[in-house]
Subunit: 638 residues, 2 copies
């Protein structure tokens, strides 16, 4: 048996942050460097910038017109115009021209009446210094233009150049080396075999560092070899201001980072009571920060924000900007472990005046939860979770304007929603479609609680054999609902290519040699299964795998494709996309149920327009298994 280190601290986040803050206090802003002002956008000043020259540096005409001595105009009015001779009494000046000697005011060209070639008439009296920009009107030499520790904006560059500078002293960009480690890692684009993992974390990590003003360099990937990692880390420490070792920070066989940090320097923290992200390493080696960031992408992103972000800003002499926060109402209950601070990803949407936060997948390995997330809700270590309807504070991951322009659809999953999301973004870039997949009944309940603009549903009524309407009447009796057809689609059994177990229909699910993969309770597909099983007199206990639930058609198809199951019930498009076989069971109607108050919204009307366009319908047809002949039609109004 290999030697295994199974010890991991589990200190509270606040304690880890305190330790890190203390370490950070010892880190001075980086050495300055001198750059061309014109290339200094977004750089941080390493010292105050005082004007070297005034702007303007001479008395300048502030208008196109004539420059004169004001006293020559005294007494002029419409009845007693004053005539002035060019070059003797006045000179033409354009905006910015220096005031000629002897002149102390500028008369706008609109008030000057030419009389012949070199004479003009003035019909009002003028005071000295009209339309004149005195020396230093904008910037006075020696004046402070921008202080130290200031992030340079476009207008700052203009003012600094105007103040006579060509170069400026700014902080060096913190150089952060990223060492992806793992023998299983392969570079993007390589052919994949089981066990290979595409090394994609470093691109995300580098992206964050760049956003925070740093300069990221990826070295590797490096295989899981103690000496190799140590040597690469030492090499990186020679030139970088800090090093991030990605993965290998846990307590597994090949998690070497903590030992290497201990060997090369001092390990301060190994393991923080947060979820995701627990196995983080904070240390110093050769005087520079070394962080071990876990391999799961969400854990990695979270630790980057907690520990790397303040470090990168500190190295630039800047405070860490905090994310904008808003209040929202949680759409469903979330249970969380005591003693662990959880960072819950949520989708946000403004529905009927209320900002609704819907929890996303909580797995540390689900990078798509970060792609989909609009914000993060912190569940404190001492709370057992959050209740449905609870007011929560959300740290925003995208801007509020985008969130306000989001149409929230909750309900059953269908691939056409992806197509729709893209078509909307293409046609109306300001709009976003956010879909949460909780099954048809989940969608109905979301409408009832006022948490969604619409629900995607395909609920078969076993008594009438009809779809959706009876459920709306029963569960949404107090709301006015418009039901619009999205598609008709084929439900059927998804089986591996070639149908190796010769499955012919629902009746085969009771066979002993067949492992089924089911959908979650409340899913329309599960209702269909239950109805079909009942019709055939098959008890659910007879179906092996009935208790194993997936939340989407694609997940069911993936389970079949990956040997996790022999068969699942789902839509044709899901089978097609993973190149699986499909045995039709039943066509069904998939509708959008829209409360009337939202139906009238501009955003919803735009969405319905997109659905009605032939471009959308054509794209859906190419998926296979869909019928769009009623797409966009209003089925029912209550």
């Amino acid at each position: 048996m290999k030697k295994r280190e199974v010890y991991l601290d589990n200190i509270p986040l606040i304690e880890a942050e305190r330790i890190w803050l203390t370490i950070m206090e010892g880190i001075e802003p980086l050495e300055p460097e001198i750059v061309d002002v014109r290339k200094a956008l977004n750089r941080i000043t390493a010292g105050p910038v005082f004007a070297k020259v005034s702007s303007p540096h001479y008395h300048a005409a502030a208008m196109d017109g004539i420059a004169v001595a004001a006293r020559k105009t005294f007494g002029a009015d419409e009845k007693n115009p004053v005539r002035l001779k060019q070059d003797i009494d006045f000179k033409y000046v354009d905006t910015g021209d220096p005031l000629p000697p002897g002149c102390d005011t500028v008369i706008m060209i609109e008030e000057v009446h030419p009389i012949g070639d070199d004479e003009v008439e003035i019909i009002s009296s003028h005071s000295p210094w009209e339309h004149v920009r005195g020396i230093g009107e904008d910037i006075v030499a020696t004046e402070l233009i921008v202080p130290e520790n200031h992030r340079l904006r476009p207008q700052d560059l203009g003012a600094i150049l105007a103040g006579g500078h060509v170069e400026i002293t700014v902080r060096k960009k913190p150089k952060i080396s990223i060492l992806p480690t793992g023998t299983e890692l392969v570079s993007p684009g390589a052919k994949l075999k089981p066990g290979d993992i595409i090394e994609y974390n470093s691109a995300m990590l580098a992206g964050y560092i760049e956003e925070w003003g740093g300069d990221a360099q990826v070295i590797g990937p490096v295989i899981d070899d103690y000496k190799m990692i140590k040597s690469k880390l030492r090499e990186a420490l020679e030139t970088a201001d800090a090093v991030i070792v990605n993965a290998g920070s846990s307590a597994g066989t090949e998690d070497y980072t903590s030992s290497i940090v201990q060997e090369l320097g001092k390990l301060y923290v190994h393991g923080v009571a947060i979820r995701p992200g627990k196995p983080v390493i904070l240390g110093i080696a050769e005087g520079k920060p070394v962080l071990g960031i876990p391999g799961y992408p969400v854990s990695a992103a979270l630790n980057m924000n907690l520990f790397v972000k303040p470090m990168v800003y500190k190295m630039q002499g800047m405070p860490t900007p905090s994310n904008q926060k808003i209040k929202a109402t949680l759409s469903r209950r979330v249970v969380s472990a005591i003693g662990v601070e959880e960072f819950l990803r949520v989708k946000l949407g403004r529905v009927g005046g209320k900002m609704i936060a819907s929890p996303l997948s909580r797995g540390a390995g689900i990078i798509m939860s970060l792609v989909r997330a609009d914000g993060i809700v912190r569940i404190p270590a001492l709370k057992e979770g959050l209740e449905s309807g609870e007011k929560v504070e959300v740290e925003l991951l995208r801007n509020e304007q985008d969130i306000e322009n989001t149409v929230v659809i909750i309900g059953s999953h269908d691939v056409t929603l992806d197509v729709l999301a893209n078509e909307i973004k293409k046609t109306h870039p300001e709009l976003n479609l956010s879909s949460a997949h909780v099954g048809s009944m989940g969608g109905i309940m979301a409408l009832k609680r006022g948490e969604a603009h619409m629900a995607g549903i395909h609920l078969l009524d076993p008594d009438t054999g009809k779809y959706n309407i009876s459920y709306i009447k029963r569960y949404l009796s107090e709301q006015n609902i418009v039901l619009v057809n999205l598609v008709f689609r084929e439900q059927g059994l998804i089986v591996p290519r070639g149908n190796p177990k010769n499955i012919a229909g629902i009746e085969d699910l009771a066979r002993d040699d067949i492992l089924f993969i089911n959908r979650q309770r409340g899913a329309g597909t599960r209702l269909l299964l239950d109805l079909k099983l009942k019709e055939l007199g098959i008890s659910p206990e007879k179906v092996k795998g009935y208790e194993r639930e997936e939340y989407t058609h694609m997940a069911v198809a993936a389970a079949v494709a990956g040997d996790g199951a022999d068969v699942g019930l789902g839509i044709h498009a899901a089978a097609n996309s993973l190149d699986l076989d499909f045995i039709p069971v039943s066509p069904e109607r998939y509708d959008l149920a829209i409360p009337e108050e939202y139906y009238k919204l501009d955003s919803i009307q735009k969405l319905l327009e997109v659905i009605n366009e032939s471009k959308f319908k054509q794209k859906v047809m190419t998926l296979g298994g869909y019928d769009v002949s009623h797409t966009g039609e209003t089925i029912f109004v209550k």
Copy 2:
């Protein structure tokens, strides 16, 4: 006389925006280009990105531990442990390893008890699929990762790589050429003679374009020559997606842009009823947008935001993000012309729970007003202005967090405030000092109205010969005030180097051959002058230039330096910084008056700490004319 074009439209902004929007509707997003995903941060997708592979693409261990067939653990508990043999019953797996054939669950290493070298004991039963990441748990092949028209964030890059992509199709960056024009323009760094203007606008314009996702190129500066500008514009149009001609958009002698646009294409707008920014040109030449942007920096920045920003975003297929807006209370009355929409720059600060907006300099040529501004207030064309205390909507130019961390000081100007602003930013990067210069009495009144955290004052009481205290008692009778000394400073007459007019003291201001430059009403320096004149029995009418007012010591010094005046009253530091001579008149005390409620604030305490540090005092001493022996001392508490 030269031929002059004096015609300029003056259409309402809403009309100009409507015309521009119509033109923009004809502009398609730019052609896509293919880039490495790892280099695509902040780029805009030119099409939907669907996953090519699932992630994981095999069933993967989600924990370090052992992989087993779940059924082998059935029935295990503390009393009936189950023993498993390595390679026969189980295999060690690290996180991410593929599930070996025959295994369907993973037991965490913490729950595995080694017995000898190749055997382990399990004391609980495990279900299938524990700690297993099924195929597609994160991303299912064919799933939509990000839609078209999406700005790529770090997590998106990770997910797209995880989905099997190495390259991605993104929008080209809009290539915008900037042509600075003007014979008077010189490049930064050149030696300046009167009439020369440093060409600094293009750096600011390029900065904005870069911020909005474009790729800016500066061509020039180009001299004011019709043929030259036309030829450079045609050249630029060959490769750029749009061209900005900077300056020459007005109606002066050498304002050629409108004629050139008319010759090469179509002129849609020339002149919009906005201030600053009126003389803007919007046109199309050779099928591409050509904009004439005025030369004054604030006019230029404003028109960039109004017209170029939506264009650059449209070319990327994106909606124009709008600035965040907040409500604030205007600190003083602003009169505005009817028929013109004004864009007022304001400083913001939270004082006693109220967000206060203080108007900044309104000149189109004052780039420092953009550097200092925290936001913009729009004064509609049909309003005559805004009242003091009026609630206004402010478009933010910096983030709200920075504004919340701003200490607002209103009152008399002193150069040490610049030194203080920089020392604070250096010591506490999260803090900002915002100072508005409205004279000592203006500061007192700002405290009375609750618009500032502190006032900088040097008010001499002619009856007692003492500073500040009697004014506080008289005008701030209802507030508790802490008065802290900032500096003692020398007030005196500022004269050109060598004192060419032999000025010896205040009495010389009555001389016929002497032109004085005064400070504004309410300035402590003006009170001092009035007192001294009274003592000498000199009537203000006798002083030539008494009616010409400047708002700061530096502006007074600049007027003397630039031949605009023979003498002014001001502080030693201002004379020093412009290399002028100084004739001492009187030492005076400059204090900070701080209401007790703000005195206790953490931010104010930090500011007072900075004032008490010897580093600050030393920097002040190097300015000359200051006495810091009482700096930081509390003078008086009411």
